[in-house]
């Protein structure tokens, strides 16, 4: 124990890095300890096949909080976000449905399928914009606890009540509907064209163990509508160089503020003396002292693995054990000799700069969910496909491409457990399904990486492979995330904090939890 640190941050994921950057910016001596050889957690870019770079896990940016981009001056550190231009849904009848960056084009496109929906589309977009704005202040606040009796919490509740009241009854009711309804039911009130409803409702199931008809999925839909780049809502983007660049930019900002970032430094345990955090011990046996320790890992690891349970109240342990992860998504990364040629939009065109969504109908998504409910991966999965090399040509050798395929459902709890054979069968199901829409795909594949939730858990440490560090279900949000009373980034151990997306406001490459935890720590110390 040679060097004196003010703060140790466990885990170099984007939240850990954001947390470290804010603390270092405030003058703290901060050490970040990352288990893997690269920083970034699930936001990393890696060369899986020579010459082909992938955003291995998370692959688009939008939820990253604008105040973080601004306050940490991330563009100066290499962050460069390019907008995602379009979303195309190929349809089984050979047609397609597209949403383009240009709203007039989109309107005309939707009109082709349903004049009614073309009108509703713009109005729906406006409502979502207002709803996302209404929720925004809630994302930026440390949640007050309605079950607590302290003055601070009561004041917080009154402030929260006052805020909700200020939205007006109508907005509040809309918000309540979004919190409680299924995305399919919610969209039924707006649209009539099946593939449009399906493609929209797909954002309500991403990362969750729910189908589009499951109540609660409308909230996840909104969560994804909160995507905001440079203050423009619902702007999704690619990061130049892949999502690892986001992490690199935050890391570079943290270093510039004076933080030290160590990789290949897995933490075994948090040291606790007399109910106070005093440092950490690494797998190597090395002990490092610090009065403040912050965990960027998920709640299960933060409470059940990094500290001994005798240090924690039973009430909290029970809540953490009941906190649900249930990873439901997988990822397939492809190195391609040529781009897939979609039969619905033949040739290579601007549509390859956007996303393709395999979501032809709500029934299709529900059937995919049914497979997962009963313990297998979807034979015909939902997919969100992007070709990052179309935006940033450096990601693949000249003339060649990379494809990033987000796949659902691949349940962590699969009957009999995940095996190599099952992983490949899952990969085959993905390729076979996609080939129905782009017949040249199979022959174009040079390399294929298939990641199941079990792989995600093993590689980046997300429990059960849940990309949000815990389901975004109502009973796991706000003051219940990850546990009532401990949703304020503090833990029962003094000096020990949590800053991962197991805390409010949850997942996505958002950084909000890391920032709010830093503000909490700075207020406490």
């Amino acid at each position: 124990m040679t060097q004196a640190w003010d703060v140790i941050v466990i885990g170099g994921g984007h939240n850990g890095l954001v947390n470290a950057a804010y603390l270092a910016r405030a003058g703290k001596k901060v050490l970040v300890l990352e288990r893997r050889h690269i920083l970034g957690g699930a936001a990393v870019s890696e060369q899986i096949f020579p010459g082909f770079t992938f955003s291995v896990f998370s692959y688009v940016v939008s939820l990253l909080r604008p105040e973080i981009i601004r306050e940490l001056e991330l563009p100066k550190h290499g962050l460069h976000i390019l907008p995602l231009e379009s979303t195309v849904t190929p349809l089984p009848n050979g047609d397609y449905l597209a949403a383009w960056g240009d709203s007039d084009l989109t309107r005309r496109e939707i009109y082709r399928h349903s004049p009614h929906d073309a009108d509703a589309y713009a109005e729906f977009g406006r409502l979502m914009y207002h709803m996302a704005r209404a929720v925004k202040p809630l994302l930026g606040m440390i949640p007050p606890d309605p079950t607590a009796l302290g003055i601070g919490d009561l004041r917080g509740m009154l402030r929260l009540g006052g805020y909700l009241r200020s939205l007006g009854a109508e907005r509040f009711q809309q918000l309540y509907k979004l919190m409680t309804m299924s995305s399919a039911d919610y969209l039924d009130e707006w649209f009539e064209f099946g593939p449009l409803k399906a493609t929209k409702s797909a954002s309500g199931i991403i990362g969750t163990f729910m189908g589009p008809r499951s109540p609660g999925s409308a909230y996840v839909l909104l969560h994804h509508y909160m995507g905001e780049i440079d203050g423009a809502f619902r702007a999704w983007g690619f990061c130049k160089g892949g999502n690892g660049t986001v992490s690199q930019a935050i890391a570079s900002a943290a270093r510039a503020f004076g933080a030290t970032l160590r990789t290949e430094a897995p933490v075994k345990q948090v040291l606790v003396k007399n109910g106070r955090a005093s440092g950490v011990v690494l797998e190597s046996g090395e002990e490092i002292a610090a009065p403040v320790v912050v965990s960027g890992l998920d709640a299960r690891r933060t409470y059940l693995e990094l500290v001994e349970s005798k240090e924690l109240p039973d009430e909290l342990l029970t809540q953490v054990r009941r906190f649900r992860f249930r990873g439901s998504s997988g990822k397939v990364n492809l190195a391609l000799a040529e781009l897939p040629d979609f039969t619905c939009l033949p040739g290579i065109g601007p549509w390859h700069k956007g996303a393709f969504s395999i979501s032809p109908s709500v029934d299709y998504l529900e059937r995919a969910y049914d497979d997962a409910k009963y313990g297998s991966f979807s034979r015909k999965p939902y997919m969100d496909i992007v070709f990052p090399s179309m935006i940033d040509p450096n990601m693949a050798p000249p003339g060649q491409h990379v494809a990033s395929i987000f796949v659902q459902y691949a349940p962590y709890q699969i009957d009999g457990g995940w095996t190599d054979a099952k992983r490949e069968a899952f990969g085959d199901a993905v390729i076979d399904t996609l080939s129905e829409y782009a017949p040249n795909l199979k022959s174009a594949i040079i390399g294929r990486q298939v990641l199941t939730p079990a792989d995600i858990e093993r590689t980046v440490g997300l429990s059960e492979g849940n990309i949000f560090q815990g389901e975004l279900a109502l009973q796991q949000l706000f003051f219940l995330r990850p546990a009532a009373r401990w949703a304020s980034y503090r833990t029962p151990i003094r000096g020990y904090y949590q800053c991962g997306s197991s805390s409010h406001p949850g997942g996505g490459v958002m950084g909000a939890a890391g920032r709010l935890a830093a503000l909490r720590i700075l207020a406490d110390h």
């Binding site: 309804m181 039911d185 008809r213 009430e315 029934d363 109502l474």
Partner: protein, 520 residues
Amino acid sequence: MARTFDSIIVGGDPDALVAAIRLAQRGSRVLLVEANAELGGAFREIEFAPGFRAAPLAHDVGHLSLDIIGLLGARPEAQPVSDPAVISLSHDAPLLLRSSIAETAAGLSAFSQYDSQNWPAFAERMTQLAGFLAELYRMPAPRIDFDTAKEVIGLAGLGRKFRALGRTGMIELLRTLPMALGDLLDDWFESDRLKGTLAALGVMDVCQGPIAGGTAYTLLHRHVGAAPGVFSERLRLVGGPATLVSMLADKARAAGVTIETNAAATRVIVREGRVAGLALASGEEIAARTVVSSLDPYRSLLELLDPVHLDPELMHAVRHIRFRGVATKILVALDALPPVPGVSAPPTGAVLIAPSVRHVERAYDATKYGRGSEEPFIEVRFPSVAEPRLAPAGKHVAVVHVQFTPYTLREGRWDRIREKIIADRAFAIIERHVPGFTARVSARAVLSPATLAARFGLREGALSQGELMLDQILFMRPVPQLSRYATPIPGYFLCGAGMHPGPGIVGQSGLLASRAALAG
């Protein structure tokens, strides 16, 4: 308009009767019109075979709040809680949920020691949370834009009751309400059968499977007013649900209410922007300044009113209320009671065939694709055991609840043939679990959601008159603009199961609507 009243109540169910009584007691001259030959609404009995009667939609009267008991003036005579309350059958030993928590726990040890240990705490917790709902259900749903001192006082009172739950109780309440029932049960138990049994009881009449968010709430809602540890029945009256209807009807007549049956309302008459009366199918127009409808909100708004009186946004919202009836009821005439495994005495409680959460969830899946379930979950009750008058001497009646059979079919429509297929399927499943059942059947009547809709005036065959999911309860029930029992037409008010606090909290919405009507 030859006849004139102060108020007209449309509908003859307990909510309508309660509203009529309250208005009459406050000096209003009240007419109550019921489209059917008999009062009772969903409590109505029908004679489905000569000498065999049953109330297909009510095995109990649900929960009577202190307010309603006060209005009745006396607590009606109740049957004891069925013991066992539930006989849950599968291919192996029956699981019994008893009226006593300790006995249930003892019996559960044959299935799981863990579940046996957890049962008392689970029962206690559910009673505590349902107790909070019972308080919440006594007043109009709290809303965010409260503006009167009375509402603030009501909210403060509710806040105190919330605090009284204690720290753990408060956390459990907030956490449980939005949860999936399957998750809640996983938190407490490990036996598939026990979880399947409770899952089936929780999703009764709801178009959701038990792993959908919000279904923990539906279990709690149905638990309001039930005995601790009993999830299958609430207040069962001597004489059946009909007893409550006749008590209320007597009370209404005594208060001066004029009751007319076979009198279907066709239109609420609006003049100069407010209610002027009611038109009946007979062609008669009756003048009144107040009309209270206990029909479902869709019919009350979109069928009884001329659409020119409603703004398009409200109409849009009402059109999107989800009803989604999912249950088929089969009324069965039996020559004798079949022997039910697990019990020696004739059962007054529920016989349930729902072996696991997965089974119930799979049964639900079919509805997503507009089909009836191949392997539905089934509940059988024998109401004639407690009420011998329902069947000729020595014979019995069974009411079979089959779920899921959606009102809206993707292909084709409900007809006799489809009803026969559903019933044959259900009987085959019952026969596997209660051998000898089919041999004793002498007659049956199959009531699909479509038939229930036609015979009981329930939209889409939904007993709830508006699905009881989180987005359609409290200040959202039936839609926010109508949640205070008043409509945009002065003088026109709503009550019934479609309004807060919803189905099974009998008479309460009638009471709350009458308060709104009296306030103007």
